[in-house]
Amino acid sequence: MKVLVPVKRVVDANVKVRVKADGSGVELANVKMAMNPFCEIAVEEAIRLKEKGIAEEIVAISVGSAQAGETIRTALAMGADRGILVKTDAPVIEPLAVAKILKGIVEAEQPGLVILGKQAIDDDASQTGQMLSALIGWPQATFASKIEIAEGKATITREIDGGLQTLRLSLPAIVTTDLRLNEPRYASLPNIMKAKKKPIDEKTPEEFGVDLTPRLEIVTTAEPPQRQAGMRVDTVAELVDKLKNEAGVL
């Protein structure tokens, strides 16, 4: 079985993001970038499927600038077999556009499974996997915390409000990963060097007939309000009093 893993290049999770002075977005110049953590989990899961003998080939895909190739390279160093970079200098690429491009790749590659992160930590949209599922008409299981594959079916445990839900899907299918699915490995130094020799195909959005023009307009971007310092109370009675008379929530 072939597994496709789309991976997104985002601002590193440890970077403190700053809003641009004109409010048009966040500052990206000279900011450290890395693979979206949920995508890392997706790559790790694909590698585990390969180690179990379930997946035969893992293809990492990214849509973005030439630097997105580095993110693919990271996936290759972790253990993916080859990459596809859909290269564009478009400053904004919305989930629908990515899903349409992925649809084209899925049609060409005919994978048994597509594993994506449940969302990217930059815009937190949580849409690409779902849109891809709708576009190609495959079953989907989002927010997976456990993936089991046997006899052409995937059994997926999902994290939902208040508990866990288990779904059984026929393959081919789309799965998106939650945080607790696995703990991604570090790419080993020898594998980083070997990844250099793995192939990355370059494509363009035009080859898939996809128009990247944004359909949404960003009106403004703002910092979250500063958190006020909290206070300590000595007794439950005092707490109740404050909730009632100061906060007005009781």
Binding site: R73, A77, Y186, A187, S188, L189, I192, M193, A195
Partner: protein, 384 residues
């Protein structure tokens, strides 16, 4: 062969991440337990950290010197005991074999050192001969197809864990000096090879040294490095020349960590109603540390590039080791000063680092020995 920039960046980024996510959070534990947790050791193996300087054809990563020092800058941002664990396999515990070993010896040991399956140790120093290493007394007598080794080695890093010793012993007569010393590859355990109790050290908890005692220890003649007697001292000196650049790089990494910790502390700690970083006398300490660490980084980077281009760097490597080890001592001292009383208690890493870095001025040649090497080479070159 040099790596492409992108590959090297990815390699360094991976090490940086591993240091930040796995090593630094475990530093206190490593110190308290005087051991690196087994799961961290196994991650270090999986990452390939035991073989970054070992050639690719023997299972390592084969970094050149410029790349190696950059990796060590990163790795040494955490407790130096962590670098020390992989330091011997990449340095003094494998370089003798790489530089002067036979093909069979390289094939036998380098892949196992590169994977971290065995730990390599380097045994030169003796109770009576440290700086005066050419006078060592441990002997190796040929008896048929074996050498019989007798003597004691002292303060040997990673000896308690070692599976292989690069051992310097005298095959020539007692007064044969440097030319009478040969180098042997001694596997452990071996009958006649005993370990003393671990040394109680000032710092470097998690990294272990002890005496290594040879009593009629028989090793096959095939374990003579490169099959040649009388080359051991030269091998040892070549190994140490290269090792000095790596130690100097470690000093830079530790200094940068200490500067970061000092800056964070100075920005947060308030006295007289202001962060202490506002006070110019504190700023002077930060600025001096930053300047010296940068100077050392530039020296190491330059000397490593020259090494890669084939230049002889014995003098420069000694300059780097001398300056960087003294520098990190001053930086650690200022780091304690900036932390005030907090720098003297074990709640902050600087207290531990202050004790750890004291070692850098002592091993692989004391500062005085570096001065002697530098001046001796200067005078020799002047004489032409």
């Amino acid at each position: 062969m040099a790596l492409e920039r992108e590959t090297l960046d990815q390699l360094l980024e991976t090490v940086r991440r591993f240091v930040g996510e796995q090593l630094i959070p475990n530093e206190d534990r490593i110190c308290q337990e005087d051991a690196i947790p087994p799961e961290i050791v196994s991650q270090m193996r999986q990452l390939g950290l035991f073989g970054y300087s070992i050639p690719e054809e023997y299972g390592g990563i084969g970094l050149n010197m410029s790349e190696e020092v950059q990796l060590v800058f990163e790795l040494s941002q955490a407790s130096p005991a962590c670098r020390s664990l992989v330091g011997t396999n990449n340095g003094i515990g494998s370089q003798g074999i790489i530089l002067d070993g036979s093909k069979a010896q390289m094939e036998k040991y380098l892949p196992r050192l590169a994977s971290g399956e065995i730990i390599g140790s380097f045994a030169l120093t003796e109770p009576d001969f440290g700086s005066d290493a050419a006078s060592i007394r441990t002997t190796a007598h040929r008896e048929g197809e074996h050498y019989v080794i007798n003597g004691t080695k002292r303060y040997i890093t990673n000896a308690p864990e070692a599976g292989l010793f690069t051992l310097m012993a005298r095959t020539g007569p007692k007064d044969s000096g440097a030319d009478g010393i040969s180098c042997f590859l001694v596997e452990a355990p071996t009958p006649g090879l005993k370990l003393g109790p671990p040394d109680k050290k000032m710092g470097m908890s998690g990294s272990h040294t002890c005496d290594v005692i040879f009593e009629d220890c028989r090793v096959p003649a095939s374990q003579l490095l490169g099959g040649q007697e009388g080359q051991g001292f030269r091998t040892a000196m070549k190994v140490l020349d290269r090792g000095r650049l790596s130690i100097a790089a470690a000093c830079v990494g530790v200094a940068e960590r200490l500067i970061r910790d000092s800056l964070t502390f100075a920005a947060e700690r308030k006295q007289f109603g202001r962060p202490i970083a506002d006070f110019q006398l504190v700023q002077a300490m930060l600025a001096d540390s930053r300047t010296e660490a940068y100077a050392a980084r530039a020296m190491v980077t330059d000397a490593a590039a020259r090494y890669d281009s084939g230049e002889t760097v014995a003098t420069l490597a000694a300059c780097c080791k001398l300056f960087a080890s003294e520098m990190v001592g001053r930086v650690a001292d200022r780091a304690v000063q900036i932390h005030g009383g907090a720098g003297y208690v074990a709640d902050y890493p600087v207290e531990r680092f202050y004790r750890d870095v004291r070692l850098f001025r002592l091993y692989e040649g004391t500062s005085q020995i570096q001065q002697l090497i530098i001046a001796r080479n200067m005078i020799r070159d002047h004489a032409g």
